[in-house]
């Protein structure tokens, strides 16, 4: 109880409160503009938060992270364009509701479901925190190394169909992290005798290039769209009542969000699709899904909003970010010499509790803001794409240049901007690069310290948690290899079926049946048509 009071005390500070308010309102606005997204906003704001206290900076970034998905549902429902990537599933049922004249109902339902998901996950985590505080100290160097390795493996296998390039890009991230002076022997690695590479490549520079500058380039080359929004009529509170009629779907979707959010590398997409599939399979009217089903909308929005709070668990408890946004937040900890991990739960539990309560308050603030300001907020989606590109370019400059006042950093970020632009055009994943960079550094340090304490390779997994993590890694890889093998078998079968054809006369005739019957049909129609010209060769 004392911890709860001290957490509330931290939040009652004016600067923390202001950061929470700015972050939550700013996050909704950013989420509502298609083409910006929380990653761009967090990347731009990161250097500005370095001058703030850790709790203030993190509250601001958490505000953006937690509220952007609320805002992202607005364009997803009204104009069929997801504001953030994770709102894609909201368009399935949200837009059909708008099309049949129920935009208010859809928005209200989305806000209520998001609110439920957000609050549910925070309450789960507050209850879960004491257990986490007991488990976290069991993680030594080898367990953290294995957890980081599991994170990379999961990120790679989560990109189904892009697994190979995702693995290559994760390795690229690990490589980027090795550039510069090696921390123990102080020998240079891939500096090519250039002074600017001796200090290594800053994570923020890479993040700003890959997320912000690439998005600016993409928007600058894009076309402006003529967007028409629908007028909103009716009350926005009906969603809360409707949500109360589907407690099972809301509860299970939020649970999926919490569990998936805690697993590094999995995140919102998996949680959403699992809860959506569950909702569809268990629904009495599965045929309504994709055609404006309220259950589908509840499943999608509840699951994705339950993730941000849960995603803080591996970051705070182990110092391992599960996705790009929490990887960016990790740099705020490092700048202030606050080391996330088991120690944080042991020595600074009030800090952790304050963050959780901040997330809880954030959800209330955002809901109140949205219920009162939605009609005005709808206008934000009308900002032209290319003008948005100019705005992001100007903001990206602040982010990169304010780090070290270095033009070289800007040039490097611009280079990564081009790489990000290419990856986005090709629809290839960017997140493995960021996680490779962050987790690669963790793995290097932890493997070195872990290997000094083991005699044989098997000693590495002789502790229970290390063994469990190792088994999970092996299982994930084995399942992925099996799935890849089945996919390739299926592909081969399909190829065989289309390329190998029988040469039997009967089969040839059977294949030509449509053309033969069509020709015969034409002939028959020609002979029977009252408008056909008279012919003397009628049979």
């Amino acid at each position: 109880m004392d911890l709860l009071y001290s957490g509330i005390e931290v939040l009652l500070r004016w600067d923390v409160g202001l950061a929470l308010l700015v972050g939550s309102v700013g996050g909704v606005l950013i989420g509502a503009i298609p083409g910006v997204g929380p990653a761009v906003a967090i990347a731009i704001l990161l250097p500005a938060t370095f001058s703030m206290e850790p709790i203030v900076g993190l509250t601001l970034l958490l505000g953006i992270y937690g509220s952007s998905m609320y805002g992202g549902s607005i364009p997803a429902i009204l104009i069929n364009t997801p504001g953030t990537a994770v709102n894609a599933l909201t368009t399935y049922d949200g837009y059909p509701m708008t099309a049949r004249g129920e935009p208010r109902r859809a928005l209200s339902l989305a806000y209520s479901a998001s609110f439920f998901g957000g609050v549910f996950s925070v309450i789960c985590l507050i209850l879960f925190a004491p257990i986490l505080a007991k488990i976290a100290p069991m993680f030594g160097s080898r367990e953290i190394f294995l957890a980081a390795l599991l994170g990379i493996v999961l990120v790679v296998v989560a990109h189904r169909g892009h697994t190979l390039i995702a693995a290559a890009l994760a390795c690229f991230g690990i490589f980027l992290n090795t550039i510069g002076l090696e921390p123990v022997k102080y020998s240079k690695r891939y500096t090519f005798d250039q002074a600017f590479l001796s200090g290594g490549i800053d994570l923020i520079v890479v993040v700003l290039g890959l997320f912000a500058l690439s998005q600016a380039f993409l928007l600058l080359q894009d076309q402006d769209e003529n967007i028409r929004t629908t007028r909103l009529r009716g009350g926005l509170f009906q969603g809360l009542r409707e949500l109360a009629r589907h407690p099972r779907i809301a509860g299970i979707s939020a649970s999926f969000g919490v569990v998936m959010g805690m697993i590094p590398g999995v995140g919102e997409f998996t949680a959403q699709f699992m809860s959506y599939t569950y909702a569809q399979k268990s629904s009495k009217r599965p045929e309504d899904f994709g055609r404006g089903s309220s259950e589908g909308l509840i499943a999608a929005e509840t699951a994705n909003n339950a993730v941000p709070a849960a995603a803080m668990v591996p970051l705070l408890a182990l110092g391992i970010p599960g996705e790009a946004l929490t990887a960016m937040m990790l740099s705020v900890f490092y700048v202030h010499n606050v080391v996330p991990g088991p120690g944080l739960f042991f020595y600074q539990m009030d800090f952790v509790i304050a963050l959780y309560i901040a997330l809880l308050v954030l959800n209330v603030l955002v809901l109140v803001f949205l219920l009162s300001a939605t009609p005005a907020l709808v206008q934000v989606v009308k900002i032209p794409n290319r003008f948005l590109g100019v705005c992001i370019l100007i903001l990206s400059f602040v982010g990169v240049y304010s780090l070290r006042n270095s033009a070289t950093d800007c040039a490097i970020a611009a280079g990564f901007g081009i790489l990000g632009f290419m990856l986005k055009r090709l629809e290839l994943p960017i997140v493995p690069i960021i996680l490779g960079m962050v987790l690669g550094g963790i793995m290097e340090v932890k493997l070195r310290s872990a290997m000094t304490r083991v005699d044989t390779p098997l000693d590495f997994i002789n502790r229970p948690i290390a063994f469990i993590l190792f088994v999970i890694i092996v299982l994930v890889l084995a399942l992925h290899i099996r799935r890849a093998w089945l996919d390739s078998k299926l592909k081969k079968d399909r190829k065989w079926q289309t390329k190998t054809s029988s040469t039997r006369f009967g089969t040839q005739m059977y294949r030509r049946r449509s053309s033969l019957s069509a020709a015969r049909g034409r002939k028959v129609r020609a002979t029977r048509s009252p408008y056909a010209p008279r012919s003397t060769d009628r049979s």
Binding site: P47, L164, A168, F172, Y190, L393, L426
Partner: protein, 175 residues
């Protein structure tokens, strides 16, 4: 719908040139490993400075090569050329950005932003006074928010040195 249900829908254009550039550069970097990293005598393999760059580069080359082998189309198509031209076209905006970076320490953050935002807006084809005014207003708002309010570290312009004493320090600190 994609013609191959096993793979998620992704554009085929540009996949081959990207994979070739990525794997080719990775291979060049891997070949440089002897020169660019050192091998410390009497140190365990896992603690070698060369260990992690080697792991990463072997992964990049290996997975990159497998990705090329696994591509749905491994022959150059003219769509690939068009896509590569699109990548090159974006260099123009990269140039705009670098010019902005270059002029900020010379003429100052506020004047550079007020010049840059409307100029790029004009270049994009917006000719209305409202849009040009909006872009200039946005530039001023960003400068005031980040430099004056949040006090992020962006140096004053060299031209501020020619301002009168009282104004000079005010401009260096706030704009």
């Amino acid at each position: 719908m994609s013609d191959d249900p096993i793979r998620p829908r992704m554009p085929r254009r540009g996949q081959l040139p990207f994979a070739l550039i990525f794997t080719g550069l990775s291979l060049i970097l891997l070949l440089q490993i002897g020169r660019q990293t050192t091998w410390a005598e009497g140190t365990e393999l896992f603690a070698q400075p060369r260990f992690w760059p080697a792991v990463a580069l072997i992964g990049m080359v290996g997975f990159g090569a497998l990705h090329i082998w696994h591509l749905p189309r491994r022959r150059w198509h003219r769509e690939d050329t068009f896509e590569a031209i699109k990548w090159l076209r974006v260099l123009e905006y990269l140039g705009w950005f670098l010019v902005y970076v270059w002029i900020v320490p010379v003429i100052g953050y506020l004047p550079a932003s007020i010049l840059f935002a409307p100029a790029l807006t004009w270049r994009l084809g917006y000719r209305s006074k409202a849009m040009l005014g909006l872009s200039a207003g946005f530039a001023v708002a960003v400068v005031v928010l980040f430099k004056s309010v949040l006090q992020v570290r962006i140096p004053g312009g060299a031209v501020y040195e020619y301002l009168p004493d009282a104004l000079r320090s005010f401009f260096i600190l706030n704009f």
